[in-house]
């Protein structure tokens, strides 16, 4: 793990590591850096699809919930309107769509990120508490196919890092 002082240095280092053939790398930063996920080769997430699915489930479920209740389970004549008065069902259909999509977005994001996760090895690294303040970290994970401890250390030291250290698994 290498520690940097600025987002630019971290992104540059991440690009170097990717170019050197490392694939199981990760950056840690106190705020989102768009270029960083590109640099470590993380480009796509399935989250939008999950949210879309949530929205479709909400829309279909919301509408047919009302349809079933008003037409099948408990048909009741209100002012001579048809049982299936679909325009009157639209507001609630819309609200259900938004509700389910929002739940999908939040819980989908947490699930894909495997959160909550109380323990993670990076928390053992010295100074890692600064990752939520003003420090930027680059990690080469040992599960990387190209990983060799000494060579990875040498590589990280060749970057202009403030500090380089080992992280116990």
């Amino acid at each position: 793990m290498a520690q940097f002082d600025s987002p630019s240095a971290l992104v540059a280092a991440a690009r170097d590591a990717y170019a050197a053939g490392y694939r199981q790398i990760n950056g840690y930063s106190p705020f989102p850096i768009e270029e960083l996920s590109d640099a470590i080769g993380f480009k796509r997430t399935t989250l939008p699809l999950i949210v879309l699915a949530g929205g479709i489930i909400g829309a279909v479920g919301g509408f047919f919930m009302q349809y079933w209740m008003e037409v099948i389970a408990y048909p009741i004549n209100v002012g001579g309107k048809p049982f299936n008065s679909w325009p009157a069902f639209i507001p609630i259909t819309f609200e259900c769509t938004v509700l389910c999509a929002a739940f999908a977005a939040v819980f989908g994001m947490l699930a894909l990120n495997k959160l909550p996760q109380p323990y993670h090895p990076v928390f053992n690294a010295p100074n890692f508490a600064l990752a939520t303040r003003d420090s930027f970290f680059l990690v080469i994970e040992s599960k990387d196919p190209k990983f060799d401890h000494d060579e990875a250390m040498r590589f990280l030291k060749s970057l202009e890092a403030r500090d380089v250290c080992d992280v116990e698994l």
């Binding site: 470590i40 509700l99 929002a102 303040r133």
Partner: protein, 459 residues
Amino acid sequence: MDEPRDDRHVSIHATHPVVGSELTFGSVTDKISAIVLKRKTPIWWFVGFAISFALFQLMLLTITNLLFKGIGLWGVNIPVGWGLDILNFVWWIGIGHAGTLISAILLLLRQKWRTSINRFAEAMTLFAVAQAGVFPLMHLGRPWLGYWLFPYPNTMGIWPQFRSPLMWDVFAVSTYATVSALFWFVGLIPDFATLRDRASSKPFRIIYGMLAMGWRGSARHWHRYETAYLLLAGLATPLVLSVHTIVSFDFAVGIIPGWHATIFPPYFVAGAIYAGFAMVLLLTIPLRKVFGLESFITMRHMHNMAKVMLATGLIVVYGYMIEAFFGWYSGNQYERFMIWNRMHGPYAPYYWALIMCNGLTPQLLWIKKIRSNLLVLWLISFVVSIGMWLERFVIVVTSLHRDFLPSSWGFYSPTQWDWAMFIGTIGFFFALLFLFIRFLPMISIFEMRTILPEAEVEE
């Protein structure tokens, strides 16, 4: 043509920056988290919290009394079945709208200045919606059966009636409250992690640590996080517009003169944003002063919020004009009488006070000097908050008290318990806000970091 415009754009940014130039990642973090973690709780906090908590007890007392005696305790009766309770509901929920507007719509519009006020505005939204929810629930008469509003399988074998706007309202308001809470919590996760890593006492480290759920700022996490946040903003944007639209349907779908109008949805939404920005200004002007947050919430924010208030205020004034115009143009005697009665009837002082507060006072905001004077700006916001309350009074009460048949006309005056309930919710609102500014970062720390100049990645 583009050149001179660009220059002017730059100069406005130079004179009124979004963030103070002396800030760094470290100092932003330390300054905001110190309010929660390090600084001694000031005396005024205890005094303010005690007062608002005492008023909250007044609300609980009213509710207890109400449960014993029924809603006859309030001044509502036929023909004015909706009194202060429903108008307070609309007032509170309107205030909530500014929070979502700032956090979602301005995010999508890439307005960087939103960053230092969005967290606070979202908290305000949540607390305002909580107050709003109390009123219709208590107005049910038998609030302990409030769950009957939700569709659930029951032994009576009946289901809700979804053609009624009141049912739409249940879904709209509960969805709004849920999505606002989710949005707020997701925004807080990285800041919980910051507080976890900064806290010096173990209990706080554990509590903030649990709330942060193991957030560690991984690039993969941030990527998904940003996606989720943007999608939530995209979902909240139509949601916030739908909520006050549906609230306005509660009125517009009815056939009461003065309610049955197509202008209602846009007019209500604009009024909600208007009232909400007034409340944000009302609260941030003193807060930035006492906590010394002038480099986070700059004069640029004050100007922008004042301008939004002016713009939405003009839409609201347009609504008043259209109401009056259609009262006359409809040729319908009931509509004509309604607007005449508003202007000359027993509640006419409310109407003219409303025009004063909402129509005339905010016109002062055209003047730059006035927007720059925080005391005057605060007073204008206060007047607008009162004006928006009067607007709902005029809509709810004057329309109901003169019905189609003169034999069913009546008069409504709120009782002391109406006022006790209203003042009680104000106390509850402020009690929650006091707890919020003491225990949670009132400015989004991680988003502040992103708008610092040093956050730019240089190639």
